[in-house]
Amino acid sequence: MGQRVLLIEDEPNIIEAVSYILSKDGWTVHTHSDGETAMEKVMQGVPDLIILDVMLPGRSGYDILRDLKAQETTADVPVMMLTARGQAKDREMAIDLGATRFMTKPFSNAEVLESVRALATR
């Protein structure tokens, strides 16, 4: 079984496309689409990498990131943030909160794969 990635994203067709390309690359992909219960999902089985959307129903990705970094069991898990806003202040906020990478939508599949592979070899 490959390394586990948890994709927290509320857009079903992005979930399907990203899951497909990561699965094809050898990753075991788990998905979740609700912000409010995202931490529960993480704690059910801490993944090797988390891809986290910023705008989620119920709870912001930034709040989830803050919780991830505050918990001992998840603090070291690399987190790649996905956002529709590419402004410098959004990027700074994500990095300040502990995100490992920050990717602006719309992204290409190649960018996602390259980033995920880079994070896996950290």
């Binding site: 509320d10 857009e11 079903p12 067709n13 992005i14 399907e16 496309a17 990203v18 497909y20 390309i21 094809k24 409010e36 705008m55 129903p57 119920g58 529709a84 939508k105 719309p106 992204f107 290409s108 599949n109 190649a110 996602v112």
Partner: protein, 422 residues
């Protein structure tokens, strides 16, 4: 005093421009030549009827001659010069411009004020575009859909060995996403259109300024719970200050009946159930709604928003939460429980609703309309409706309420006032 200097000088310059003799002008306005001379050399104040008479003789608007107008014209003229340092203006002769060509000076001043207003409006619109949750949601929908299309299309184009089942699935996704993209981009245009229209008619309203002030402290002023008076001295607009003071006065009364520690503890114990809290403290429901919406963030309470409207449906207060924000212009969807409460004063309403579109959080809404103030035999009761809004916990079938007809995607709606743009 520079304003006094200017009035006399302006009168003198204007008389000389018209080629009138001092004595002749003095005679027409009923004063001696020597007195007019004192005025023209700024050694006597002038106002009232004499100012009006002198202005008429000098064929000039009295307002342009008066001391009070001086700063109102001179100051913006100097600001206009300062705003364009590359323009070489005769700065030292600004007062002479006002006195010799008062009409042109007033025009420059008016244009400077207009530019300042437009700059403020542009900034307000820009802030709104950046922070308005409806626009942010709409933009998010457009970009998310474009991302899904791009990613799916790449898979189709770059995976020659893609099996037929996946191929069909991705084709279907692209088809549905492209339709969504068309719809969401139209919705975005609709929101932008509404924002621009709002910008054409008003700058930031007193209500918006009051809301912004409250939002700075997350709609909670700790001092109120200690019986202190919040300081709104930094709010420029007097109308916004009145709104804030009225709100603080009501919040103080609520805090007296529902002391923070006892209420906070009871809120946790009752899972923030407004009806149980109202019964426990023997207070009206609308008071509980307000208190719940104004609890401090550090006590682990759930997110809660609030809206209050008058009998005409005009939103007089709101604390937005997540996607929830009612339009201030009165173009809101009448299906919100807030407006339904207005039709049945005294009836407590609880409904779970959501905005159209899959990504929106469902909201649990509690609403009630109540009379305000003491009953009187001589006047109709004033009724307001209050609605508490919070993200819903578990509800399978929330009712759909729209953001407003123009940008609402619900087609079959008996409450639709006009066609949707989307």
């Amino acid at each position: 005093m520079p304003d006094r200097v200017l009035t006399g000088t302006r009168a003198r310059n204007r008389r000389l421009d018209l080629g009138l003799r001092q004595a002749a002008v003095a005679k027409v306005v009923g004063i001696s030549g020597s007195y007019l001379n004192l005025i023209e050399h700024n050694r006597r104040r002038i106002g009232g009827k004499l100012l009006t008479d002198l202005a008429r003789v000098l064929e000039i608007d009295a307002a342009l001659l008066s001391d009070d107008t001086t700063d109102a014209i001179l100051l913006p003229i100097k600001e206009a010069a300062a705003a364009f340092p590359e323009a070489i203006v005769e700065d030292a002769r600004a007062e002479e411009l006002v006195s010799r060509f008062p009409g042109w000076a007033a025009l420059v001043a008016a244009q400077r004020r207009r530019i300042a207003q437009l700059e403020e409006r542009t900034e307000a619109l820009s802030n709104r575009l950046a922070h308005d949750s409806q626009i942010a949601n709409s933009l998010h929908e457009v970009i998310s859909t474009a991302t899904a299309i791009r990613s799916t299309a790449s898979i189709l184009a770059e995976t020659p060995d893609l099996d037929r089942e996946w191929q069909a699935r991705f084709h279907t996704n692209i088809d549905t996403d492209s339709a969504r993209l068309a719809q969401s981009s139209q919705a975005l245009l609709g929101f932008l259109d509404m924002e621009m229209e709002a910008g054409d008619t008003e700058t930031e309203s007193a209500m918006e300024q009051a809301e912004a002030k409250m939002a700075e402290s997350a709609f909670y002023f700790a001092g109120i719970d200690k019986g202190e008076e919040p300081d709104f001295g930094d709010v420029d607009d007097p109308a916004a200050r009145v709104i804030l003071q009225d709100w603080a006065s009501l919040a103080r009364k609520d805090a007296e009946r529902l002391p923070l520690d006892a209420f906070s503890q009871a809120a946790h114990a009752t899972a923030h159930d407004p009806a149980r809290l109202a019964a426990r403290f023997d207070v009206p429901l609308d008071m509980v709604f307000r208190r719940l919406a104004h609890l401090p963030n550090d006590k682990d309470h759930p997110l809660m928003g609030l809206a209050v409207c008058d009998a005409a449906g005009v939103v007089t207060f709101q604390k937005p939460v997540l996607d929830f924000r009612l339009p201030r212009s009165g173009a809101a969807c009448p299906l919100w429980p807030l407006y339904q409460a207005l039709t049945q004063p005294g009836r407590a309403i609880r409904r779970v609703v959501r905005l159209p579109g899959a990504a929106h959080t469902p909201f649990e809404c509690f609403a009630i309309a109540t009379p305000v103030g003491d009953a009187s035999f001589s006047s109709e009761p004033r009724v307001t409706a209050t609605m508490l809004v919070r993200p819903a916990r578990n509800e399978d079938h929330p009712d759909v309420v729209g953001p407003g007809c123009r940008v609402c995607t619900v087609q079959e709606c008996s409450s639709r006032r006009h066609p949707s743009l989307v």
